[in-house]
């Protein structure tokens, strides 16, 4: 069957059945801006930022929700589209306290980017005067309702991506709010602190508490690594400023986790900065540990091992490697035991 085609900004492009206009645009490098759209989730069409003009349609349509059809003639950046899009962005800007200077999302905010792209320089509409109070009660996530644009991405992330079903839309009209069951704070709800809601929040409404004030996006270097906890091996971005991890996000579209993390992967990184870290070799003397140089500690162990090998044979020494550390560490440890000490008494906790 020949591929279906449609016209996008005067160019003929092919598409697969089931693709939305937004899918088709992105597949062909046409940049339709979006805000509420969340990949692989049911489109909500809530923010009206991705509006496009379709020839013959009575009104502008949300590209994220509109299925592509053969022969459609679509304009993604026409005067009519830009005017409506701009209006919608202005309304979003007026919906809350979008003062970027004091916002943690400054520099990493879709609404800010949209306002800039569409050259919005002043607010024509009045902002509401009151908002729901910020929830800062749990240790991980700050919920700043004054900055929430009610796009619903957090709800989709919670219900469709992570399927934890902890949040949904609550109340109506101007009182609308993202709520947990019974509108309880996160830590008293079904929330399991995976932080996927924070990951997908396009504005500054949901933010990592531990990262607050520690670095702006443009000051941060992102380093890709693998999570140190369970055996799924999630891919992480470490956000590093001055050699220190200030927060962790998921590698989008990376295998195996496809942009998802759990509470430990996202928030369990700061143990490395604990003051309890062992910083120097220690030797026990009269029941107490005392600091020692590497030379002294290594030589002590080497001499002791050599003595035991000489007296009792290599099989009198045994070692356990670490299932948390890197492959190369386990490799070198088993090589030490086999090729230097001369025993196969090397194991690790795979069996426990």
């Amino acid at each position: 069957m020949a591929k279906s085609t449609l016209m996008m900004n005067g160019r003929e492009v092919g598409f697969e059945p089931g693709q939305t206009i937004l899918d088709v645009a992105r597949a062909h490098g046409v940049d339709i801006p979006s805000l509420c759209y969340l990949k692989d989730c049911t489109p909500t069409g809530a923010c009206r930022v991705c509006l496009v003009e379709i020839k013959g349609a009575r009104s502008l349509m949300a590209a994220c929700a509109m299925p592509a059809a053969p022969g459609m003639e679509i304009l993604t950046e026409s005067e009519k589209v830009v005017k409506a899009r701009k209006l919608n962005i202005e309304l979003l800007l007026a919906s809350g306290r979008h003062d970027c200077v004091t916002c943690e999302a400054n520099g990493d905010c879709t609404l800010q980017d949209l306002a800039y792209r569409y050259k919005i320089s002043e607010l024509r509409f009045e902002r509401p005067e009151k908002w729901y109070p910020t929830e800062d009660l749990n240790p991980m996530i700050i919920r700043d309702f004054s900055r929430c644009v009610l796009c619903g991405r957090c709800i989709q992330a919670c219900n469709e991506v992570q399927v934890n079903r902890a949040i949904s839309f609550g109340y109506r009209g101007a009182a609308a709010k993202i709520i947990t069951s019974g509108d309880k704070p996160y830590h008293e709800s079904d929330c399991v602190f995976c932080g996927q809601c924070v990951e997908v929040c396009p504005v500054g409404a949901l933010k990592e508490k531990k990262a607050k004030g520690l670095g702006r996006p443009w000051e941060v270097e992102k380093v890709r690594t693998t999570c140190p906890y369970c055996g799924v091996g999630c891919q992480l971005w470490l956000h590093v400023k001055d050699g220190k991890i200030i927060k962790v996000t998921a590698v989008e579209d990376g295998a195996p986790n496809q942009g998802r993390l759990c509470v430990k992967g996202r928030f369990g990184y700061d143990f490395i900065y604990s003051e309890d870290r062992l910083k120097t070799p220690l030797i026990k003397e009269n029941g107490e540990f005392r600091p020692a140089s590497w030379d002294e500690a290594l030589d002590l162990v080497a001499d002791k091992f050599k003595g035991i090998i000489a007296e009792h044979g290599p099989d009198a020494i045994a070692g356990l490697s670490c299932a948390r550390s890197i492959n190369e560490d386990s490799y070198n440890m088993q090589k030490l035991f086999r090729a230097v000490i001369g025993t196969n008494n090397i194991d690790h906790c795979a069996r426990t």
């Binding site: 690594t225 906890y229 369990g268 143990f271 309890d276 009198a316 020494i317 386990s330 025993t343």
Partner: protein
């Protein structure tokens, strides 16, 4: 895992046995839940009504340790009702007659009685599994942490072969590994019976190969497994013990016994990033670089080798672990190992020596890594093992196994079964998560999870302090009354020192894998 995490969300039928995935492997569980939302079917087999039960079409709450009886019962129905994959069994497998004879001894009525299930449930599960192909089986430590752990695993494999589900996308037998690099540590040969890449100690060819590569005479005698090393400390057979990054004093069963072993060590070396309950017993402690202070690789459950990258230097004098071992090699044996970074170790040694990893070089690991086997530099990696039922070893071998009960079952004195595992907010002995801001606020103490029925009959309120006692020890902690737990069971984790499940657990082991029976011991509950 024979298959990949990418299969989870696409699977049409999922059988999860002994895996509390939403807490122990939360991200894997999200894909499984996605599959259910898209119309896939989940069958959950677990003594506890864990969160996944809310997504399951059938939750079979089998008694702790009755997995083999359950699976033999399923296979009995599959054969009796001619629902098994005859073509697959005939062309891809051997030993069908022997497994048939064995499972005929497990009619559903008998299996149901052992498992504490309604007999209809066994018929129902067997028929549902046979109705959708392929079905994907996942298990975790609920299968392996038993004195019959190996037989439990064999049962999972038997069932999946009989259903013709091994070797296909969204099928297979998939153990979720508990630790980030437990797969890798095995691959690297940190096991007493294999060299890197599972080449057997005792195989003269493998020995000759590594003697040449490492320029040293090697022992042909397989080494000791961990429980025997520990026993050796007490008997004096083992004089020196070197523990790298393990907190045995909390993580092993029967803490009193473990600490007695550690105390008995003539010379104990610990290498770690923190002082732990285990390092107290050390004679020398080496301070090590941690996760983000190392360049290197981890290998996950689906055999994917992924990069780990450095963001900062280790604190104080702490050093990379590989460097410490290299230094000891020089000082003990006068050996001068040439590899001087994790990358050099991998590229010049690991990937040269392990056949499955020949095609894996750091240069190929920049993005999503590679799933072994990767036999050559142009090989894309392997998502599914035993492709199309062509087993790596030739044919899939059915291994008949009998059900055996846990070593310690409830009696008049200790009338409850204690089962153990992990909770969402902490990891193992909390050496790491206990030092992360906020995680202790989300979960600050251990509880003894008991059923409402038992709480009621013992007169215990939710949140009340109680004492649990086993033949090995006792702990005092709060009761958590939850309908996740069936009557007759107590459930605990091993994250917190004072109320660690391992004061109570039973140091008995599977005779092949030497995995401890963390999932079952007998306890009694005392009101305080």
């Amino acid at each position: 895992m024979t298959n990949s995490f990418a299969d989870f969300a696409k699977a049409k039928m999922l059988l999860v046995i002994g895996s509390n995935m939403t807490e122990a492997h939360p991200v894997a569980a999200t894909f499984l839940k996605n599959a259910v939302l898209k119309g896939g079917e989940l069958i959950l087999v677990d003594p506890r009504r864990t969160d996944l039960a809310g997504f399951a079409s059938i939750h079979a709450p089998i008694k702790v340790g009755s997995d083999i009886a359950f699976i033999n019962g399923l296979m009995h129905v599959l054969i009796k009702e001619d629902l098994y994959d005859k073509k697959y069994v005939d062309s891809c497998c051997t030993g069908f007659e022997t497994i048939k004879a064995k499972v005929m001894e497990y009619p559903p009525e008998r299996a149901a009685e052992i498992c504490g299930l309604d007999v209809d449930m066994i018929y129902q599960v067997a028929r549902r599994l046979a109705a959708v192909k392929p079905a994907m089986l996942m298990y975790t430590l609920g299968i392996t942490e038993h004195t019959c752990g190996v037989n439990n695993v064999l049962s999972c494999a038997n069932l999946q072969m009989m259903l013709g589900n091994v070797g296909f996308e969204c099928g297979g037998v998939n153990p979720l590994r508990g630790q980030n690099n437990v797969q890798g540590a095995c691959d690297m040969g940190a096991l007493p019976n294999v060299y890197p890449g599972y080449q057997k100690v005792g195989d003269p060819q493998a020995q000759a190969k590594f003697e040449k590569l490492w320029g040293a005479k090697l022992s042909d005698k397989p080494g000791l497994v961990m429980p025997h090393m520990m026993d050796g400390l007490v008997t004096g057979k083992i004089k020196a013990f070197y523990i790298f990054g393990e907190n045995l004093a909390n993580s092993e069963p029967d803490i009193k016994h473990v600490e007695h072993c550690l105390e008995s060590a003539e010379f104990l070396v610990c290498q770690d990033i923190f002082p732990t309950e285990t390092t107290r017993f050390a004679d020398v402690i080496f301070p090590a670089a941690a996760w983000s202070e190392n360049d290197g690789t981890f290998t996950n459950s689906e055999r994917r080798v992924s990069r780990v990258r450095t963001v900062s230097t280790p604190p104080g004098e702490a050093k990379p672990n590989w460097w410490i071992f290299k230094e000891l090699a020089r000082r003990i044996g006068g050996q001068s190992w040439t590899s001087n970074s994790a990358q050099e170790i991998w590229d010049n040694e690991v990937s040269v020596e392990a056949p499955q990893l020949c095609g894996v070089k750091y240069a190929r690991l920049e993005g999503d890594g590679l799933q072994w086997p990767v036999p050559s530099l142009d090989h894309p990696g392997t998502c599914t093992l035993h492709k199309d039922g062509c087993f790596t070893c030739g044919q899939g071998r059915f291994t008949p196994v009998d059900w055996t009960p846990p070593a310690e079952v409830p009696d008049a004195e200790y009338p409850f079964t204690l089962s153990t595992g992990r909770r969402l907010y902490h990891y193992h002995t909390r050496t790491q998560t206990g030092r992360c801001q906020g995680l202790n606020d989300l979960l600050g103490e251990e509880t003894a999870d008991i059923s409402p029925a038992d709480a009621d009959s013992l007169g215990i309120e939710h949140g009340e302090m109680i004492r649990l006692r086993s033949r090995r020890g006792e702990v005092a902690l709060k009761a958590k009354v939850t309908d996740q737990v069936p009557p007759g069971m107590v459930w605990m984790a091993f994250h917190f020192r004072e109320a660690c499940a391992n004061w109570l657990t039973n140091p008995v082991f599977d005779p092949v894998s030497w995995t401890a029976e963390y999932k079952a011991c007998a306890v009694r509950i005392e009101k305080l």
